[in-house]
């Protein structure tokens, strides 16, 4: 059942107005107006989203609100129009994007209080919100791609926000390029789906229609699912394309919270949940998703345990947590993956904002070795960050416990014992590196530089209020997805079920997992909880009880520590394997070699062209033979090209 709901367009219109206002009038209107307008448009969008959500709840399960916009692309029978669709899945995403987004916009007004480029900042931030909402509200795959690349653009602009630092500028570009490499996969995935349908004279990329024609997609399901997942590894920072995210931390911290933790980077998880019918037809692709997810979770967690930069720890933690979400959707527990996406948006958004509060208080210091003992100076920051840490460490009853538990439960229940085990080990690592962060930052003696120490202060109310709001959500946000039999049970899962657990008629597909924890899973929960507690204990032993022990350990295990500290040398490996060969081919082989060395040399050699000043006209006399040679070589090049094509066909 669908219902036309024109107000959906307002969810996009408000941020769009914000973009235009800040872009054209922000500078003239002044800081006060921008600080008001920037967050206000997101709050308004959130209000509309809530009203749409209320309307949706009144409708039967599986219903959707729609709002057609305008005709977009058409060529021959192929046709894609712009339109919005607000069903249970996009409802969750829209509420998270506008809700958490609004809090982070508000926080930004405080965080950027001393930056002169506030208008540009809010232009980008509003544009991000707009793009992200286009992504989650799109009713077809191609429109989703507008949002998909749009958020990438905003990420690029915001990472390089302080562009006069060349390193920041580089990191911004790196993020965009790595994402574009992923987008190749996304684009080819779209083409594969459209091509498969075209063969049966079906021309659409509409989600509902794709689902209806799922049977036609079966032959290409695995390929398309893998291609789209490759796109997701870029946007959602999974192996092998995660390398941009740690470097993205040079952007303003609220940006890290909103874009590089709470919303944009989870777009890949959303995409897979949205295309669940496709993935269910491709069990091999789902195995890949689950495996890449949990391996990324583990891999990133191991790097996080040795990093000294507070934001860098959180960045690897984000990669790791998205890995969990991928594990969830990969084993077919789509609603569990989206559930963790939501709770993660609360607690990871909060963690970043708290780290921002710390950095703000310390005037830009990010090195945890130069922190310590901050809990008394920054009480609100400390309390809220501790709550977020308990949530990410999956300690009951905090939000992360329920969502992570659902994922691990589903992994075990679907027979992926090894993946489950790796997930449990990662849960231990997670609580270890998070409590290491807490101990190094807030406990012990202050290692803050005296100059910074003097100005140390808790953040203003405009920044602490969002912290408190997110802290509340980090505590209670998980209660919507309780284990079965406990009060209302997994209400979240039931809400999403008609969208993500809807069996396909007449198509061979993997069984959809019922994520309703039973008695057996209590044991599983105890195991993962024990891992988490063990991690906390280890962190306490190493960073509180015996502070000197870590250095000795690092010295004893120098090789391992070095490997982790240097992040497995992945950046260096990519540089040698990809970047340098590419630049060599570009500059040396093609530009100097083929273009100037061969083709142009032949042209000049014909004597048809004269050298500068017209002195070489005499060459024209010997030009005839060379002209033949030129034409002959031209033909030869064409033949080579033809065989290139033959070979590739």
């Amino acid at each position: 059942m669908t219902q036309n709901f024109p107000a959906l367009a307002l969810i996009l219109l408000f941020p769009a107005i914000g973009v235009l206002f800040n872009l054209f009038y922000g500078g003239r209107a002044g800081r006060g107006a921008v600080n008001f307008a920037g967050p206000a448009v997101i709050v308004l969008a959130f209000a509309v989203a809530v009203s749409a959500f209320v309307a949706l709840l009144r409708m039967p399960p599986g219903a959707a609100l729609t709002c057609p916009l305008w005709p977009w692309i058409a060529a021959g029978p192929f046709r894609v129009d712009l339109g919005l669709r607000f069903d249970a899945l996009s409802a969750v995403m829209t509420l998270v994007v506008t809700g958490v987004g609004a809090l982070i916009h508000i926080y930004s007004a405080g965080y950027m209080a001393e930056d002169d480029d506030y208008a540009r900042y809010f232009t980008y931030l509003n544009l991000f919100a707009l793009s992200m909402l286009v992504l989650v509200l799109a009713d077809n795959l191609l429109q989703m791609f507008i949002g998909w690349e749009g958020v990438g653009l905003c990420s690029y602009l915001l990472i390089a926000f302080w562009f006069d630092n060349p390193q920041y500028a580089y990191n911004g570009r790196k993020a965009f390029i790595v994402n574009r490499i992923g987008d190749l996969g996304f684009l080819l995935g779209i083409l594969t789906l459209a091509g498969a349908l075209a063969r049966h004279n079906v021309w659409t990329l509409d989600f509902v229609a794709l689902r209806e024609h799922a049977a036609l997609l079966a032959p290409v399901a695995t390929l398309a699912a893998l291609l789209l997942f490759f796109g997701a590894t870029g946007k959602s920072a999974q192996i092998p394309l995660y390398v941009w995210l740690p470097d993205a931390m040079v952007g303003p911290t609220p940006v890290s919270a909103l874009i590089h933790a709470a919303t944009m980077v989870t777009a890949g998880v959303y995409m897979i949940a949205r295309l669940n019918f496709l993935y269910l037809m491709a069990p091999e692709a789902m195995e890949v998703v689950a495996t890449v997810g949990v391996v990324t979770a583990f891999f990133a967690a191991t790097i996080a345990i040795v990093q000294a930069d507070i934001k860098r720890v959180l960045a690897y933690s984000t990669i790791s947590q998205i890995g969990y979400m991928m594990l969830g959707v990969g084993v077919g527990a789509f609603s569990a993956g989206v559930f963790h996406l939501m709770t993660h948006a609360f607690f990871k958004g909060l963690l970043f904002l708290c780290s921002g509060s710390v950095i703000h208080a310390l005037h830009g210091e990010q090195d945890m070795n130069k922190m310590g003992g901050l809990r008394r100076k920054l009480p609100i920051t400390f309390a809220t960050m501790l709550i977020a840490t308990l949530a990410i460490s999956a300690i009951p009853p905090f939000a992360g416990f329920f969502s992570k538990d659902q994922i691990l439960d589903a992994a075990f229940g679907s027979g992926h014992v090894w993946l489950w085990l790796l997930g449990v080990v990662t849960a231990g690592l997670t609580s270890f590196y998070m409590f290491r962060l807490i101990f190094m930052t807030f406990y012990g003696d202050s290692r803050v530089e005296p100059e910074r120490e003097r100005h140390l202060h808790e953040s203003p109310r405009v920044m602490t209020a969002p912290l408190i709001a997110l802290a509340v959500l980090s505590v209670v946000g998980g209660l919507v997805g309780l284990p079965k039999g406990l009060f209302w049970g997994n209400a979240f899962g039931r809400f999403l079920a008609p969208i993500v657990n809807h069996p396909l008629a007449g198509v061979a597909a993997a069984p959809v997992l019922e994520v309703e924890a039973g008695a057996a899973s209590v044991l599983l929960g105890v195991v993962s909880l024990s891992a988490a507690l063990l991690g906390i204990l280890m962190a306490w032993l190493l960073y509180r009880r015996n502070p000197g022990l870590t250095d000795r350990l690092a010295a004893r295990l120098a090789a391992l520590h070095g490997l982790l500290w240097r992040k497995y040398y992945i950046d260096e490996i990519y540089d040698v394997l990809v970047s340098r060969p590419l630049f060599w081919i570009s500059a040396v082989l093609l530009n100097r070699g083929v273009d100037r060395g061969v083709i142009d040399a032949m042209v000049d050699g014909t004597g048809l062209t004269v050298e500068e000043g017209g002195e070489a006209v005499s060459k024209a006399e010997s030009g005839n033979v060379q002209l033949y040679a030129f034409v002959y070589l031209l033909g030869a090049l064409a033949i080579v090209a033809y065989y290139v094509y033959r070979v590739m066909r």
């Binding site: 305008w70 005709p71 977009w72 692309i73 058409a74 060529a75 021959g76 029978p77 192929f78 712009l82 791609f145 507008i146 998909w148 690349e149 749009g150 653009l153 690029y156 390089a160 562009f163 006069d164 060349p166 500028a169 911004g172 570009r173 965009f176 390029i177 574009r180 490499i181 987008d183 684009l187 080819l188 083409l191 594969t192 459209a194 091509g195 075209a198 630049f583 570009s586 500059a587 093609l590 530009n591 100097r592 083929v594 273009d595 083709i599 142009d600 042209v603 048809l608 062209t609 004269v610 050298e611 500068e612 000043g613 064409a638 090209a641 033809y642 290139v644 094509y645 590739m648 066909r649």
Partner: protein
């Protein structure tokens, strides 16, 4: 229909060119040239408004005998394929003149405007001619002003660049002329009279070998113009040395004469050969896409970089054309327009910075956003359009081309798609080096931001990027009938080819069987 709309469109600029010569001081030269260029722009927009979107064949047709003894007629018409290229031409000429009058051209403005307006006549004539001889005349007419624009108002190695430009183009043009004359001769043999009229020539059917040679004559001329790899090397030189207005017209319209030539002449005249040659052209196109992008990346000179990016972008256009399906071809035509808009804008922007700094050297810049934020922001939007960001114009064309190609040859699409990453790579790397980072040269700290005139030049192009990216339907819908008509010709040839193949196979089969029986 009827009327003299198209004649007016073509010859108002020529009259304007004469009018400009009569003007007194420089200011009135620029003013009058701009006004003369606005008239065809207004006409073309009016024609867009009254254009019948449902009609596939030529509209606003004018047809008069010109040299009846040789069957040459003055035959003009506009269809959904030429409509938008005409508008693009009239728009870019106006913007180029407006821009050039703002300080870019200080030497001999009268002659400059004269050349630009004559160029417009040549371009519009070539786009609207339905008679091959008439087309050829306009084709040559547009070469002369471009040659002089580069030679007189260019910079650096302009003489080398003009020679290279003329010789490459002449080589192709001459072969095309031979092909045109031969074709007319064949028409006399088959139809009983000499004719250069396109619809008549469609009815001429030639033996495969002759068709192949004639197709080759047309194709080489057009491929040089596009330019396709490996006959592209005139382009970087011509672009780099041309004045900004010349570069805008060269990239914006003149290159499209090559791709337009394929669509209008080479393919519909010899559809069977075009089908045979498609793999070759697809291969050259994907090579051009990747090669152009990789070589662009290595350029230290801003203008040269944009020039090589054209090789890559036009590769996409050729790919779409030779996919022979509605998505590919409509995407290709759309991409011609996109390239005109975004590369036109890029050349204008590069020209603006040249006026301030007298260099195209990327290493001379850095940190420009600090001193010229409006310029930097505009450059960002243009760059995003150029790299095909969804939501802007470039994506619509690129996606349709990739889809059309994918349906025709999956592997070609797989290779071509890498151009999307490489395009982002060289453009963003350049942007970073020019606009971001610290200001390394003190002279860059005091640059003046865009003037009102410069903003007025760029603003319509930015508006088009957004409009064409978000609401392409008014354009795509008007192209569709004409594109379908062309594809029907190709499809009919395909059917004939298949039938021939079947009958050949059947004949061989029969031979084999009879051999066994004997």
């Amino acid at each position: 229909m009827g009327g003299f709309w198209l004649t007016g469109l073509i010859f108002v600029p020529a009259l304007g060119a004469l009018g400009v010569l009569l003007q007194g001081d420089d200011d009135s030269v620029w003013r009058s040239a701009f006004i003369y260029s606005l008239i065809p722009l207004a006409i073309s927009l009016y024609l867009f408004a009254i254009f019948d979107p449902a009609q596939a064949s030529y509209q606003f047709v004018e047809r008069y005998a010109w040299i009846p003894e040789f069957g040459i007629s003055y035959h003009l018409g506009m269809d959904g394929i030429s409509l938008f290229l005409v508008i693009l031409t009239t728009l870019l000429i106006s913007l180029s003149i407006l821009y050039s009058g703002g300080g870019d051209i200080e030497m001999r403005p009268r002659e400059f405007c004269f050349m630009m307006l004559v160029l417009e006549t040549g371009l519009l004539g070539a786009l609207l001619a339905v008679d091959l001889f008439l087309f050829y005349v306009f084709w040559e007419v547009m070469l002369v002003p471009m040659y002089l624009l580069i030679g007189i108002w260019g910079h650096g190695r302009k003489i080398y660049a003009t020679f290279k430009f003329v010789l490459f183009t002449m080589l192709g043009s001459l072969l095309m002329l031979v092909a045109i004359l031969y074709l007319a001769g064949a028409a006399r043999a088959q139809l009983g009279h000499l004719t250069f009229d396109l619809p008549d020539l469609y009815r001429v059917s030639l033996p495969p070998t002759e068709s192949r040679w004639l197709f080759a004559g047309f194709a080489l001329a057009f491929a040089i113009k596009v330019p396709m790899w490996p006959v592209h090397t005139w382009l970087p030189d011509a672009h780099t040395e041309a004045p900004t207005g010349g570069s805008v017209m060269l990239a914006g319209i003149m290159l499209k004469m090559g791709t337009y030539g394929f669509v209008r002449f080479a393919i519909p005249l010899f559809p069977a050969v075009a089908i045979e040659a498609a793999p070759l052209f697809l291969a050259l196109a994907v090579i051009g896409i990747v090669y152009g992008a990789l070589v662009a990346m290595a350029q230290p000179n801003l203008k040269r970089l944009v020039a090589y990016s054209s090789v890559s972008h036009l590769g996409f256009v050729m790919l779409g054309i030779f996919a022979f399906d509605p998505q590919g071809l409509q995407g290709a035509i759309y991409q011609m327009l996109n390239h005109g808009v975004s590369t036109g804008a890029l050349f204008l922007l590069v020209g603006m910075i040249y006026v301030r700094r007298h260099t195209f050297d990327i290493s001379e810049f850095g940190g420009l956003w600090k001193s010229v934020p409006i310029y930097a922001a505009v450059f960002m939007v243009v760059m995003l359009s150029s790299i095909g960001l969804p939501g802007l114009n470039g994506f619509v064309g690129e996606f349709l081309i990739l889809l059309g190609t994918f349906l025709h040859s999956e592997r070609a699409a797989w290779i071509a798609v890498t151009g999307v990453v490489l395009g982002a790579l060289y453009m963003m790397w350049t942007y970073e080096r020019v606009m971001w980072g610290p200001i390394t040269k003190s002279i860059n700290a005091t640059l003046k931001d865009m003037t009102a005139r410069e903003i007025a030049v760029i603003a319509p192009l930015i508006a088009l990027m957004l409009f064409m990216g978000l609401y392409p339907r008014p354009l795509l819908d008007r192209m569709e009938p004409s594109v379908d008509l062309l594809l029907n010709r190709v499809a009919a040839a395909q059917v004939r080819l298949d039938r021939q193949q079947i009958s050949t196979v059947a004949a061989l089969d029969l031979q084999a069987r009879s051999g066994r029986i004997q």
